[in-house]
Symmetry: C2
Subunit: 417 residues, 2 copies
């Protein structure tokens, strides 16, 4: 594997893109193609918009939330474990290039052998890195009897239990693998997912995918809290992604969490839920009812009974909230102090055929153990949340988010060798 792609600058390392492109093909096949810019240039748009790829943890978890999401769940279509390992190798190499704002392939963007497919699909040529992060995880289904991994499945990596009111569409659930692409430019996120999907041909295929926009929570308390499609600030009580101690306690898997899951140390668990929001019904309900449902004021976002958004919401203050409010039911004091790092997005997927817009939330939450975080919280919410009248969970997935990689490292090496 290449060890320095992220720092390679304008030179183009040949990546093992597995597209059948022969080494050493002629560069440039005509005057017009010779003029092709050599991929995307991070320097042109400042270095501030490149998120470092390497680290003990993957980027895209505590990274301040970018403006756009493209989430893709894939199923492995081979029964050969080494092909899965090879895929993760190719993905790691491609991701190093993509997050640095470079095209995949030796020839920059769309240059190369005219008789071969272009190495890069080209739609991101000229676009900045846009703080792209690519975050990869493996689902519980990868640990069935296909790949001999059953003994290495951590107990926390289990299919989520059914919850009251679930309306899950199997075509929007699960997946052996997940890729979360976040970027400040949607075309950069789409290009990245498309590229990884293309590199997966023959090994894995898309099971479901979802675009999101508009940040439905913040991982950085220093920026204003965004609003979800119910018009409320969302993510006010999120832990601070910059707080390493909080992340170690609530988000990152520890070395001793589970003997079967030692390979996941430094990783995390991602729970994704596609939550339809019935905005037309919501929009017809009185302001006071909306606030009672949420447990916060709509304008300021303060917990009901307090004055300001960030006033401390301790167990005493929670006791003053409506018992069926979303904020009260989800509060860490009700769940042994459990916290998740949410980084959700809004979505709008056309119309529902009944005269309404189809809109909602791509709920994404990172946590150290879903059994102590998402599962008990969602059990409480699905039972009692006054918001249930306005939402419906239609998609779902849980994945173990692989540990980060250092120089020369590759995703999944601790699991697949």
């Amino acid at each position: 594997m290449t060890t320095d792609d992220a720092a390679a600058g304008p030179s183009r390392r040949r990546l093992l893109v597995g597209l059948g492109v022969a080494a050493g093909v002629a560069v440039g096949a005509g005057a017009d193609r010779a003029a092709v810019a050599l991929g995307r240039d991070p320097a042109a748009s400042g270095t501030g918009d490149v998120v470092p790829f390497e680290g003990a943890h993957q980027a895209g978890v505590t990274t301040p939330v970018q403006a756009h999401l493209h989430l893709a769940a894939l199923d492995v279509v081979t029964d050969r474990r080494e092909e899965v390992a090879d895929l993760l190798d190719r993905w790691t190499a491609a991701a190093r290039a993509l997050v640095a704002g470079r095209a995949v392939g030796e020839h920059g963007a769309v240059d190369g052998d005219p008789l071969a497919p272009p190495e890069d699909t080209g739609e991101a040529v000229g676009l900045p890195p846009a703080r792209l992060t690519l975050t990869v995880g493996v689902g519980p289904s990868l640990f069935d009897d296909r790949f001999g991994l059953a003994a290495r499945r951590p107990a926390a990596l289990a299919e989520l239990p059914p919850f009251a009111g679930d309306a899950l569409d199997p075509a929007r659930c699960g997946g052996d693998l997940v890729v979360q692409a976040c970027a400040d430019d949607p075309q950069v996120a789409v290009h990245a997912v498309r590229t990884l999907v293309r590199l997966a041909a023959g090994t894995a295929a898309v099971r479901w995918a979802q675009l999101g926009f508009g940040r439905a929570s913040s991982t950085d308390p220093s920026v204003p809290t965004p609003r979800n499609l119910f018009g409320f600030k969302d993510g006010t009580a999120n832990p601070d992604g910059r707080d390493a101690a909080a992340m170690a306690e609530h988000v990152w898997v520890g070395e001793d969490d589970d003997p079967a899951g030692a390979w996941l140390a430094g990783g995390s668990y991602l729970v994704a839920r596609r939550v339809e929001m019935h905005v037309e019904t919501w929009d017809r309900s009185p302001l006071a009812e909306q606030e009672q449902v949420v447990g916060r004021s709509k304008g300021e976002g303060a917990p009901l009974g307090l004055a300001r958004e960030h006033d401390v919401l301790d167990a005493t203050a929670v006791a003053g909230l409506p018992a069926t409010s979303h904020v009260a039911l989800a509060h860490p004091s009700r769940h042994g102090g459990a916290q998740m790092l949410r980084r959700g997005y809004s979505y709008v997927d056309g119309a529902d055929g009944l005269g309404h817009l189809q809109a909602g939330l791509v709920f994404l939450a990172y946590q150290r153990d879903p059994r102590r975080a998402f599962v008990p919280v969602q059990e409480a919410l699905s039972r009692d949340d006054a918001m249930n009248e306005y939402v419906r969970h239609t998609g779902s997935g849980v994945w173990a988010v692989l540990p980060g990689v250092g120089p020369g490292g590759r995703w999944g090496s601790t699991l697949l060798g």
Copy 2:
């Protein structure tokens, strides 16, 4: 109607939002709500991102293409013509506020009577105007026997003929009304469409809707031409939206174009097509084949046989292109000089259930007369375009885009009184 909403600054004019909100409700219902910011503040983000609402033509046609699209087609659900006129009144008033970055309703954003629904849905509070434009049109179906408008239908406002290879889904076609929202922030565009849909309750309902991103053409030659999801520059040959003479010739309906359609002078025709792009198949085809299909080089975007993207592509140069190339078949020299102003977007709508991403182009083209522009061009393309192997038209619509409004004006007044 209000006459000065666009210039009203921080004061809040009561808009005829038709939401059953009584006039004169108490402002502020608690300390936390009293702190609500008074809507969105254009000044906070500079005035450059407010696109003027008033003019001889609607904004959103020649306006330099914003980053995001939310297109919604609606069907009228009343048979009372005056209710349609009232709806367009409400839409005009709301649009004046929305494009200026203000919330709808007297009380700013989400403040007001706790026993009534908030006047504004709130998710755009704190967001800048983001160059929002709202562009409204009426479809041929509005001129059936429901509203007594049959005699006023211009001959050019006819359902599009079937084209070879059409794979149209009726649930993505037509609509009595269309709203095109474009903005540099997707949440601003979504909020605007949601607001207009909400104001239409009881009068019109969403038939279909589509989000788009990434600009698949430019109306301003001074900025780099964007790339579509085939990785090619798209819109190179678009007319210059700043060229008033070209717009008068090709885009705006003239006073004498059609006696039945005198009400449309200063308006235009919008043709929308949802074009699925089979990107996986495309990505497997050789570079030379892709370039032969398009008729341009992939990197530079030059017409094949020429050196640079903007080298003049006259009839002689066209004769040197592959006869079945997209550029050759669509060239104005083949269609009596007809031109359209394209302002399309890319889309990605999840996965197709067969392991692929569902991606494509929201083709949007403005023109003076579809019978002399889109229809003959698409007839040629649908018959002979080499690109047909890679695309499929799944949605379609044509609308007369209403003339612009001046101070105190309202959409549709020339048609509905």
